[in-house]
Symmetry: D2
Subunit: 478 residues, 4 copies
């Protein structure tokens, strides 16, 4: 996962980009980067680390100009390498192109091979570089970003929300199935596109709308315009954004994430209305779920686990023996809220099961009488090929194990997952518009060896003028 | 405010002290320090910064020995000076004494003057140095820590929970009124005394009991013993520890802080049972209050404000104009949970009123129909002389202003404080055992120009043997 | 300017590369980087900063393998950008190529245009990326590094000493005119190639020989071999390496740099044998010159200027007024060695004249009776296109100004430059084997608008086998 | 050893103090600190680390006022503890006293015991705290700094150059024997006192004169005045300041250090005029000696050893095996200047002999035909009790070993020390005015178990007015 942002602001973009990346920091803590453009120069600063570590006031001041893009990166296994830090730059024939990407392609190898055969030399093994190359290559022929992105969309298979800086213009587009989120906001003297609406909020901006699947948005100093590059018979929004990944205060494709989680919490009670003393969230992501559960059930919302807010990267790992003693520095039990209680423990999801097992053990050690684990997602049984860093089937505790076996492995008194239909209903856009690959093993794009729920994409030609719309911040509001 | 800890552990103390200070970090972020003792040497490392910044694995390894104390410090106005960083050391006549203190004396000036007249030269202006000097001075005469602390207690007026390292022994004592908290826990190969029980939890230890007001606890490799130095006709526990300062998962003087806050939340509804759509906490401290409110009222607990978990010291302050745009990076509104809603906003306390005003404005801007502010403490109308960094009366919004005036100033639809009797009942130990100075203007110790609710302290003489109790971890448990 | 190094060592290369880069740090302080290879993985760590800042023991341990290359970079104007930090990586068709370069191409624009026309997309504006692309592109066709480098040499115009890591093999080559230095050393369990012999010394290795102009050296675990790719009718060694850039303890193309500078110092006296009291070096680079001057003249070598050894990047620049007061923190005068003395001040070169003027003023203020400036290079009158960061003609104090005018501008009593023929004689390889572009305006490669002293390069075909030589460290020594 | 500085400057002192400490950094790299005073507040910032690490522009701006003192500290064995970082502060009875000290007392234990008996509690084990306590204690009685320092001088035995900040006045005094240096300079809008004249130079100030042994200097906004507190029948200037410790560009007690070292170099030749090819200094401290040797002998000054200027604290220590390979990163041999040469190797002193042995081995490995070691000090045979961190007799290679045995141990072809009388003559003030304890075992103060060369100190009473002199910068100059 990653977070992306593009901003045009007449008052300068480096500080707004920095604040927007702060708001998107939960989408990636491995590295951060910003590219801006002024005069004929592309400025880039990027490095491994948190936003707070990568930038200082000096580096922000050096990032000149009123147009720019930013990126935070979540490492996928084995790829913590400095050269993968985004944005990626491409400079050729007087064009300066900088690209940042959230998502994952499934035809990377195929595209690499084809382009390598044609003579392209790649610097990294990332799909972002491939996207950049396809665009750059297409631009050499037509000089039109619209054509380049149309060509690009025809070639890419997978998920991709992209922001691009081409000289003094910011472009943003989203794959035809809209797998990864991307939205538009108006700010004081310009516009912002960002992975989540919280980045718009961070700048005290006005949320305008989501970028449509298959749409290309263009922002420069004269305003914002857009064109539909491709349309599909459905969307395939990542269901895991709602379950876990996005911030609860984000609105994604018209739906407030908090609302989804709260409704799931309510349905978790409906699906299995047991008696209990407390509804206890696993912090921080379980809070909205537990609130919904408490609301519907009348079981009081009471925290039984407390997170230490000061844990950071520099925490010194103790030796093994000390480690066991020190485990409760990060997450402590509120014994008085658990002892002799029938506890409903509400969490967003179970992946490997290790964390759940540890937490259930802690709560049992604190004296809970019963521990009823309620999970805000159906069992995760299949890997994600489209951008969420999921483990393989072998590591997924629910893959090839029924609920009773999982319950036993985790040690809970009872275990209930939200049924898929309830989850879909809580989101509200219909299962046919969601990617449920990790829950069903059926994916919206063709992946060798996996089942596909076929999506049909149509690349709209010749509709440029008719579809074009231009607006300024403040004129059109949600 | 500060956090203190003392540990004796046969397996080494620097790492346990470090973890304990992590658990107490909320009590002070200005500086951190650890003293340990081995052979004939007192080792100290201390500096300004968070625990994570002050220590690294190298400095922890240099802190040798199986006995030690630690401190985190919350700066009081105008005192961010490196030389005030605790623990303080005293070395004389072959004795090595290190002291860390939580609390505030009210007769500092008087004591300084007396000791200066007698020839003592002070290095700092802190009351901690005075405490150390009195003890050190008394030890010169009697060589008995018991006598020294008895003498010390007779002289000190104010609040003081103290840990002291005298060569290879850890001592801990608490003022006769027990104003500031201090508790005892058993750990693997020894004991811990700490400001809050969460430090015991952090080491996976067993909470034993609180240090009694006026009690002196002694820990060395042979075990733990204690002696009652002074007794009083009442206690004067800081009420603000329950309201705001302590971690919700701490148990202070037998009462789980979370429970107090949750009960207050319940009573806040009882005191004014209005209709509303959501009970929304001010994060993070308002959560337990809002949970209690929701539980009693049936109004659903729903978060309307989200904190950014990545804000740290290195966040670059924008210019004034950017500042206004960037205000929502730290705290964002969840618009969908607020728009057109009748919101009960639950907070722990109102001090200056500035933060409340800002938050109420944000919520109103998010479209809330009504904002009913419910506050977990009575109006704060008087300063604190006993260790909480409160502003002067002039800066306290509730000082000399009735509730309606405060409501208007803050901009809420309605405003209700918890009545003092309800707060006292929620804590459960009776008003006569609490310090309510900041709420009533009546203080448990004599302060020139302020009212005093007289406390009588008796310095118990000759009871050493009879009162002595020795126990080992695991033998006596809560 | 930059420093490059390549190492194959059975005992691991990351630490040896780190030490070698320390020895080459004077060649570039802007950034540092290392690439290594193990299994099928190319590891790279690189960032802006000194070697000491970029690497720590953790990052060094992550750089696995027994083959690798390293780079330190000296920024050329306006190019302090993170993305220019070397080595550069290229990954395609199963090949992993990492490249580091010292030098400067003069046909960059032309090559870029050609490759861009053919479809190549560049990420940076550096010539290093072009070299890498040409090699990578050629390798796609022939899979032979020898062919790729031969093709590369035919295309590149300018100076280039290059180290390349292609999977588990280190390659190194030098342009046919040998403009920038590159040498070979034997170390414990392998070989090193490096910009200067001091890197060999740093590993306690054995200097073997310089890489020949136009030669390609190949090192892998089985040993070292080489092939002559191109030959020329002359060489064009950078004269500024001897004058200023290289460390005095380096041996370049068979000549000890210290020796050259000392001989120049001697000749400076011979050319103008005046009477004086002290021969005073401008530290640090003037010391060898002044030692030679003193040796020949009998005028005692006495330091009149002392450098502060603790100045670093973090020195806080004072305000303008303080700046004037603080100028002598960096460089102090030894008044007692200067007052009333006839001083011969010996420096390596004069570029803009600003530093010389400031130093002459300081020495005059210290009371010197006469200041005779002796300069170890002829007047610098033309820019460098081949890798030394020289200013434009307009900024060069000696460009279009005779010696008397320069003397007056600097404020010295007298000023003498070393004549070119004396400098050439001090180096010993004949003017026809040196690049004297900055001194004569005549360059060894064609540069539009500049004079060229024609060099003829012959690309040797079909000599691979006969020219191949293999040797192990310790067998062949200087 | 330590470096001290005191400044009064109407334009603010924190930046001038910072620059002065930079100039004195060679006197101590373990810690740095500054105290300033403004209004009624004493500001202090101090920490472990180099000046560049301890201060940043923010901390310097916080150090307000136009009066202040500073300190850099060289750790003596086993005392790298944060609490020993100077300046030390004392605050009592409305007085704010800050003290920084260079030197070492020999009656510390005795004074501690006496003051502890009288009730004083010490925080550290340093003699600086004792000096501060004696002064502070005396000030309580008389309120006159003159009386306090007079009393102090009567009690202290050992070396002490002290700067003190008492509210808005800077005081400086030097022990009656003038063991450690201290001098006065005039700066733009005030005065500076500092350990060495290079600190005056760093501020572009005017050297005025040395502080006289036994003199107390007072500086405030109205100017500078002084009074003679004690006189002695001789001085006892530390001979090691001239040999090694002071910067060569400092003038100490009227003598330029460079001049002393150069004269010693000359005398080293006179004492043993052998034939040789090169006079090679051990950098950096041997350079002035070697220059003098070359000047007198006609043997050319040629560097055979080069120091890497980039070595710092963060250099990663390799494993043992790598260590041997990496030894030449710090100090490299210039093989071409040594091979087959008869080398005169000139160093300032031999302490343990380890470094000399290593260097001689390196030079031999570089192929030198003969290595004649010439040493700028007589054999060091006894420890220093007065402030130089010398090892015990057992560790001194020359203690109980004749020159031939030392030569053999080091591996040199020949070894000559400068005779004491020549050294004394080079300094020029007569042996009776120098402390030669480490060379003769005879000390200027009584030390139990050691020989004493008796000094008689007279504490001048009642001469305050007559001895008073007031002057402003620029009026009186050297």
């Amino acid at each position: 996962m990653c977070g992306i942002v593009g901003i045009v602001d007449a008052g300068g973009v480096s500080f707004p980009l920095y604040y927007a990346l702060y708001a998107l920091q939960h989408r990636g803590q491995e590295s951060a980067g910003i590219s801006t453009f002024e005069g004929a120069t592309l400025y880039t600063h990027k490095a491994q680390g948190l936003v707070a570590e990568v930038f200082n006031s000096h580096t922000l001041q050096e990032l000149r100009g009123t147009v720019g893009i930013g990126h935070v990166r979540y490492p996928t296994t084995g790829s913590k390498v400095p050269e993968n830090v985004q944005p990626f730059n491409f400079r050729y024939q007087g064009l300066n192109l900088s690209i940042a990407h959230n998502g994952n392609l499934v035809n990377t190898a195929e595209l690499r091979e084809e382009y390598e055969r044609r003579g392209q030399i790649f610097c990294t093994t990332t799909d972002t570089e491939i996207i950049g190359n396809i665009i750059a290559d297409a631009l050499r022929t037509s000089k039109s970003m619209e054509d380049a992105v149309r060509f690009c969309m025809r070639r890419l298979r997978g998920s991709y929300s992209v922001v691009a800086l081409l000289n003094d213009t910011v472009y943003a587009f989203r794959d035809p199935l809209g797998i990864k989120p991307l939205c538009i906001g108006g700010i004081d003297q310009g516009y912002i596109v960002a992975s989540e609406s919280v980045a718009v909020d961070a700048l005290d901006g006005t949320f305008i709308r989501d970028v449509r699947p298959g749409e290309l948005v263009r922002i420069d100093e004269s305003g914002l315009s857009s064109i539909q590059i491709a349309t599909a018979n459905r969307t395939a929004r990542c269901i895991f954004e709602y379950i876990y990944f996005a911030r609860a205060d984000s609105v994604i494709d018209g739906t407030l994430v908090y609302d989804v989680r709260r409704r799931i919490g309510q349905k978790l009670y409906d699906a299995n209305p047991i008696e209990a003393d407390t509804a206890c969230p696993v912090p921080d992501s379980g809070i909205a779920y537990a609130a919904g559960y408490a609301e519907r059930s009348g079981v009081p919302f009471v925290e039984g686990l407390m997170k230490n807010r000061y844990m950071g990267r520099t925490f010194i790992m103790p030796t093994q023996q000390q480690r066991e003693r020190a485990v409760r520095i990060k997450l402590n039990t509120v014994r008085g809220n658990l002892k002799d209680k029938r506890v409903v423990l509400v969490d967003d999801s179970i992946v490997r099961g290790t964390t759940s097992r540890r937490i259930v053990t802690m709560i049992r050690d604190a004296g809970a009488a019963e521990i009823h684990l309620r999970v805000g997602s159906p069992p995760i049984v299949a890997p994600c090929y489209l951008g969420v860093d999921m483990p393989t089937r072998a590591e997924l505790v629910a893959s090839g194990r029924d609920t009773e076996a999982v319950r036993e492995s985790i040690g809970a008194t009872s275990l209930t997952y939200i049924p898929l239909e309830d989850l879909v209903e809580a989101i509200g856009c219909g299962e046919q518009n969601l990617c449920t690959g990790c829950l069903t093993g059926c994916y919206p794009v063709d992946i060798p060896g996996e089942k596909s729920c076929h999506c049909v994409v149509d690349y709209v030609a010749g509709t440029r003028q008719s579809d074009l719309s231009t607006f300024r911040a403040g004129k059109e509001q949600s």
